[in-house]
Symmetry: C2
Subunit: 547 residues, 2 copies
């Protein structure tokens, strides 16, 4: 049987539009002689719809949309991810379901059994888990349909078994000839290869082919990378879809052959594409075409501008230079050279007049008090106000340019640099900011060399250098990776050879800046643990690590 793996980029709640995408894919697949087309998890509604799932109108419209979808595609079998109703009278009101239909008839369904409820996932908030896994017969083949998380509890792959059942083994026992996973599995660095390892392991363990169809697109902070694939019972990948882009590939269950499309390499390229997809989808869905961002002459705004120019087109990126008395000539030169290299427009709006006017206005209230972070923050907030004014006046979305390291330790100004519609590199450590910038330069040398070599500075007071106020970035980023991303206890971090006092200082900074992150713009998640939706700490609390 010929099967099309159709990774679409649905918009949450845009049922008609999503059906349109699915009908188009089905037309293509039918024309190529496929017997079955497979769409990702919740492909009809988009994923994750979050609290829209608590609105009965949304759920009803979703049910209606499924009926419309079933009527809209003929002449090919379709497996699509949809919301279905729980009619048992108890439990949560809906299921996350794979529905197999053909020519107006539903052939079978599979309800998601393992509901992820960690990090960015809140599925037990909405869904009732399915109670059993059975194979669905289609054209002589028994399909073992699993929904995303259902395959993530194999006893030999996962040391911690947070779930009590393993749907894959049940499907195998139920006689499935082939496994099919329909997923909405978010991108993270390194996750693609783990997914591959998992699916390969399962194919080999159960000696069956495995088709993995993942959704694609940016949904607020979550980026789905697609990269759907199929493997043979001996674990060879013989079918591969693109990553970070909608795609259809064919897989033949008889010949065990399929189409192979390329995926992004190296890792830096994958991350840049993830950020780009996150940005374009967020803007498209919010109705923006253009972005504005502050160009400081530093590496963060340079990387942000370069990615924005690459995915939005240079004509849609406006760089705003906002020099103060503390801004060096080099910074202005570097920002202008970057803009020239990228071919983006710039506006130069010095903040000195406004800054002076604030100082004058506050003179009486602040009399006798020395210059401190107040005046530093003031400058950052003036810049934010100017960027937001540009946004309000001309309709640009403001891009925040802060990196993950700053956000982690609170080395950023609330309502200052922490403002904007989208914080493009908020999950990228300072160390990785440099790697991504180097990678972009290796394709096209757009970021001036001096931006890499000069010492990073906020330039909010004379002779300020990040490294006078923070631990060295390589150490800082190592600690943040271990503490935030790997959730490692501080004592273990110290036992790895990191300085106790620095670890203590950094973790205190992370804890104390929770309130800033609470009000930060959304930004694309590319690591195992990003700040934002998937990391939920109390703001006011009294826990102290024993150190």
């Amino acid at each position: 049987m010929k099967i099309a793996l159709a990774q679409i980029n649905p918009t949450i709640g845009a049922f008609e539009q999503n059906i349109g995408l699915m009908v188009n894919c089905a037309d293509t697949a039918r024309a190529k002689g496929c017997d079955l087309i497979i769409f990702p998890e919740l492909s009809l509604s988009g994923y994750p719809p979050r609290d829209l799932l608590e609105q009965t109108g949304f759920v009803n419209d979703s049910i209606d949309a499924l009926q419309l979808l079933i009527r809209s595609i003929n002449g090919i079998g379709v497996l699509a991810g949809c919301i279905t109703l729980n009619t048992e009278g108890q439990g949560k009101p809906i299921y996350n379901t794979g529905v197999l239909f053909e020519n107006g008839e539903v052939i079978g369904t599979a309800q998601k059994r393992l509901l992820p409820n960690y990090d960015v996932f809140d599925e037990t908030r909405y869904f009732e888990p399915g109670r059993s896994s059975k194979a669905v017969r289609y054209k002589g083949l028994r399909l073992g349909i699993a929904i995303c998380e259902d395959i993530w509890n194999d006893p030999s792959m996962f040391p911690a078994h947070i779930y009590h059942v393993d749907p894959v083994s049940e499907l195998a026992r139920a006689g499935a000839d082939i496994f099919i996973s329909i997923s909405a599995s978010p991108f993270e660095m390194g996750k693609g290869s783990f997914r591959r390892q998992l699916v390969t392991h399962l194919s080999k363990r159960y000696k069956r082919p495995f088709i993995y169809v993942n959704t694609v697109g940016g949904q607020d902070s979550v980026i789905f990378d697609g990269a759907s694939f199929a493997v043979t019972p001996d674990g060879n990948t013989v079918c591969q879809a693109l990553d970070f882009s909608p795609d259809i590939v064919e897989f033949d269950t008889d010949s065990l052959c399929g189409e192979m499309h390329p995926v992004s390499e190296p890792r830096e390229e994958a991350v840049v594409r993830a950020l780009g997809l996150g940005l374009t989808d967020y803007m498209r869905r919010c109705g923006f075409k253009k972005v504005a961002l502050g160009l400081s002459g530093g590496i963060d705004s340079a990387l942000t501008a370069a990615i924005a120019a690459r995915v939005l087109g240079r004509e849609n990126v406006l760089g705003v230079l906002m020099p103060s008395p503390f801004t060096s000539q080099e910074s202005i030169e570097d920002a202008l050279e970057l803009a020239k290299n990228l071919g983006i427009n710039t506006l130069t709006i010095p903040i000195t007049g406004v800054f002076d006017s604030y100082l004058k206005t506050l003179e009486t209230a602040f009399s006798g008090r020395p210059f401190d972070t107040t005046e530093e923050n003031l400058q950052a907030r003036i810049r934010s106000n100017i960027l937001m004014a540009v946004s309000n006046k001309f309709g640009h979305m403001v891009l925040a340019t802060g990196n993950k390291t700053e956000l982690a330790v609170g080395y950023c100004t609330l309502y200052g640099d922490l403002t904007g519609g989208f914080a493009l590199i908020s999950d990228i450590s300072k160390t990785m900011v440099y790697s991504l910038a180097r990678h972009l330069n290796s394709i096209n040398h757009v970021i001036p060399e001096r931006i890499f070599t000069k010492a990073p500075s906020a330039e909010l007071k004379p002779n300020q250098k990040d490294q006078d106020e923070l631990p060295p970035y390589d150490i800082l980023d190592a600690i943040i990776e271990l503490y935030v991303e790997k959730n490692m206890p501080p004592c273990k971090i110290i036992s790895m050879g990191l300085d106790r006092e620095i670890v203590k200082k950094v973790i205190n900074m992370v804890t104390r800046s929770e309130y800033k992150r609470h009000q930060a713009p959304p930004g694309p998640k590319v690591t195992t643990k990003a700040f934002g939706y998937g990391r939920r700490f109390p703001l006011a609390q009294g826990y102290m690590w024993k150190l």
Copy 2:
């Protein structure tokens, strides 16, 4: 048996401090001759610890703290809410448990079975549910211990059964002589009486006394109101603790008598106390003593200032007047009179100079463009910048003064009035703002009458009135209550007699302003659905109600 209901206000993660509170309460109860003292759900760690529960260090420290607690209290039985480990090798790693101990020995435990995972609750993210409910024998009495949500699935009280088991009926079958619920049940308007109704129903249904111990305190946006109580098997409340304050009350299981302390009345007083508790606890735990807020001369900032002055003391509240050319003389007079009535200090910092300087700075960039919302937002953001400068310079926490109605429809400026450490009235509709203000005035006439009678205005352009830009507040608030709080589909709202076009407009405004709320400060929740942690909608999405 004499039982003490001890509603403490634990700080999340401050184990030693929380043990101190519990030891003190136990001393008091022992001295009064009580046999048993009961503390609320997760009283040892505070509730909700959120992702601290994913840190092994926190969990281990919590386990150690339980051992310390068990050693610290003697001569009285103790039932306390604690984290315990799941040692079964599968499932989530911890339980939410009631631990009964006496003189260094654990007598019995009850693991929470129903894990709420809606609104502000994320319990399935962390906890494994308990599998059964058994009575625990203590001094000849079989105690039926339920943890919070465990009692919220009675088939006759809840039309929707989102859970598959009813622990209370199991405890009854297991022969419990008395029911005990240890809870962390957040305040909402009207919830106290529903809790009472539920517990009364259960006592009468099973003909047993019922002890309900609720935690107290503000934890970020969630306010626990305490108001612990006990009812007799025929449903009479014979024991009552204070609301919005730590308290201990005694209940005698033999005589079925107990202490009765007063609770807040009317509803407006309860809401004001909830807000006050939320504010004081947030500030205390974040290390703030003083607040600063903008005084516009309007009702929102008046109410915010009045509540702050009441709970923090007038010496800890600074009102900042920031007049612009659009500020009326009346507004300044009203703000100053309010401040005088409250006895709070004021600072007057006109924004005209800074505003002009922005206009001049932006003149070239904006040349030929008319005054629009850009310039309105600019003023709101200048005020925010000044308040934040005051905060940075003197250590005040900034109070945001926006109400729920504005937040719902986005009638507020991101990084402008939507800034601050705590948004005190962000879950209070405009209509209720007036009721609360009237209530405060009925106790002590502090808010000038003209603030009630004049038409609300943002005063960001000449002759601006809220009601020229928004539907009438009574209609607007009715729609928001039905749509946001009662989660009613728009068609049903319209069928209740509300104008179709206005309903459509309001719901579009609510949907389109999700991005503003994403970056809003935290604020205390007092309704069934507040914006913030418990309301999770996608920012970028395509769902359109059929209207």
